[in-house]
Amino acid sequence: MQLVFILEQVLNGLLIGVQYLLIALGLSLIFSLGGIVNLAHGAFYAIGAYLTVLLTPTIGFGGALVASPLVVGVLGLLIERFLLRRFYRGDPTLALLLTFGLAMVAEQALRMAFGAAPVPFGIPTWLRGQVFIGDLIYSRYRLSILVVALACVACLWLLLTRTSFGRVVRAGVQNPDMVAALGISLRPYMTAVVTIAVGLAALAGTMMAPVTGVHPAMGAEILTFAFVVVVIGGLGSFWGVVFAALIVGVVRGLTAYAYPPATEAAVYALMVLVLMLRPRGLFGEHIARFE
């Protein structure tokens, strides 16, 4: 019984990890290619959740699952085109201030528009209920969003490794000067990467809206965790981030089981440990311009 229970916690941890993954992957991509730490990434997650609450009554949750990331992705595109683009070459502190400011503007805008209290939203009836697999019982909704999230991660991996688009992006991460010397401008790639990353954050927001409080500060809540995942995984490493997200989920689950007050602290302790042993993160790549 005890073993089944621990197994259940590990499995649950993996599922939670996948939810951080969508946000962490985008964060990692934007940083690796553009050198920008996007503190506004959580805000897109929150906007995605609020849009879902607004759109669901008219186009249903299924419709919102598609529409919300698309709309927020376009918002990301505009922000990249008119704001972020000006900061790739400058002092990184300026970019930090910009994205920090954007995050505050977004949070306060949500607060002014919808109020500080959480807005009511729940799981659509057709996704409610439990799934029974042998001795394991699990929420049908969580299993459903797991499938969607894994599909997105797989698509992103294929895009980065099996297409010419992905080849340019990966080359741009390693050596932007060489890419430029070959006559390829990274600008449109950066726009595309930000759009995709922001869309994924909004998708995470959409999928979490039914099971977590939809309130203005929800973006700030998730962002810290996503950062920790990126740092543990190592910058520039796709699988590093994936692995770190899963590890973080499992560590949380097992600490909740063994010593609840440390549930959150354990994740930070893990980060400290990883940074001490492997300063570049678990699978961090050696990127010359960031050293």
């Binding site: 990184p92 409610r128 962002l223 910058l235 949380r252 050293e291």
Partner: protein
């Protein structure tokens, strides 16, 4: 070479800067206005950001409504009242802002707070400066006991009152005596104090605590704990959480479809409204709710609805009531001097507090003696709108009991005012 990066970029400095920015406290919102000397200023401090932010917004809106009503009926002693309202953020900031409001803005009194630790910090400043502070949302018993202050009064109920009010409803439904209870508790001052009072109650009423987990306040995903609950199979789940956590817990408990009855001893209606249709469940204590059948309650609800397009909840009631008590007392006394108001409140003066019976402050611990309520979630098919999602007991204590029976006695929570 349009996509080159600056040389100053280093991974470590970025990480460091990113971390610093994340940790930077929310920037303070400036005071609403700087008034002239012919107005009476009241300082209002309450958390507007963080996990208690959702409640702070109701507090703020209700305080503004109260001040508008007070000014519409002639202000205080013929002078206009001006509200200085700020985000109290955390105990350190709350203390600094309280000091500034008293020394620079010369406020007549301070009202507000939800966080017990911040309320303690403000009360220390208020006591030192000899300025009245009315606590409208912090529950810890210690604030009325070991940490009590002559210049601090409490419109908010103490934790023990919350435990005993809800406990009565649970006893009636046979969920306490001889039952196995599993408690989830917010891991900070409020939660620790509440757990202590809850344990006393369980011991006194023959219930066994089969599990108790302290939950970090920043936790948003309860699934590991829901799995623990499913394994422990308790007869009752007690949720002593705070702020936005309650919304997350309700949503996820309902998602996992666990069959155990739920109750809690700390609660705010706004968080149940935020959980969404079909997700609110269980039995909870509230100090006030918008369905109370009394003329002044109906008037408050109507005025709040007209201004903010939603009904008020318990936190809004607290700040509204405190403002009204301050204005009424100062008008009756024809002075804004804090010590005079303190003496007046200690004298057992009665106030219409938008409930059935009038309330008064106990002179020895400054707790407002008042009716409480226990609410129970309505089944989903009986819910007609997003706000009327619960049914309520009548006032507790009942009409033929003393208002003091739910509160701690002198022996249970002794208070000696510091000089």
């Amino acid at each position: 070479m349009t996509d080159r990066f600056g040389d100053s970029l280093s991974r470590r400095s970025l990480l460091r800067a990113g971390g610093a920015a994340l940790l930077a406290p929310a920037l303070a919102s400036p005071a609403l206005s700087q008034g002239q000397s012919d107005v009476i200023r009241i300082g209002h401090l309450t958390p507007r950001t963080g996990f208690l932010g959702p409640l702070g917004e109701f507090a703020m809106q209700a305080a503004q409504l109260a001040i508008e009503e007070i000014n519409a009926t002639g202000g205080i002693a013929g002078r206009k009242v001006e509200l200085l309202s700020e985000d109290s953020v955390n105990p350190q900031t709350a203390s600094a802002k309280a000091e500034r409001m008293i020394q620079r803005d010369r406020v007549a009194c301070l009202v507000g707070e939800i966080n017990s630790a911040s309320a303690l910090a403000i009360s220390q400043v208020a006591q030192r400066e000899k300025v009245l502070f009315i606590n409208t949302g912090a529950n810890s018993d210690a604030l009325r006991g070991s940490d009590c202050k002559r210049f601090m009064f409490h419109v908010e109920a103490q934790n023990t009152m919350m435990v005993r009010a809800c406990g009565r409803a649970l006893l009636d439904r046979g969920l306490i005596k001889g039952r196995k209870v599993y408690a989830l508790t917010a891991d900070y001052a409020f939660g620790h104090d509440l757990l202590k009072q809850a344990k006393k109650y369980f011991a006194a009423h023959d219930a066994t605590l089969v599990g108790e987990d302290l939950i970090p306040t920043e936790l948003t995903d309860f699934s590991p704990f829901l799995l623990k609950l499913r394994q422990a199979k308790p007869d009752l789940v007690i949720c002593n959480l705070a702020g936005a956590q309650i919304t997350n817990f309700l949503k996820q408990f309902s998602e996992f479809g666990l069959p155990f009855p739920v109750a809690g001893f700390g609660f705010d209606t706004a968080l149940a409204w935020g959980a969404g249709p079909g997700n609110f469940l269980g039995t909870w204590p509230v100090i006030w709710h918008h369905q109370i059948d009394s003329p002044s309650a109906k008037k408050f609800v109507a005025a709040f609805k007209a201004k903010y397009k939603k009904p008020p909840e318990n936190q809004g009631w607290g700040d509204y009531t405190a403002m009204k008590i301050v204005a009424q007392s100062m008008n009756e006394l024809k002075t804004t001097e804090s010590i005079k108001v303190v003496e007046h409140l200690e004298s057992g003066a009665k106030f219409d507090i938008a409930k059935v019976r009038e309330g008064y402050f106990r002179p020895w611990d400054h707790e407002l003696m008042q009716e409480m309520f226990a609410i129970t979630a309505l089944p989903a098919d009986q819910v007609k709108n997003p706000y009327d999602i619960f049914s309520s007991t009548g006032p507790l204590p009942g009409p033929d009991e003393s208002l003091e029976v739910l509160a701690t006695t002198r022996e249970e929570n002794a208070c000696t005012f510091p000089v």
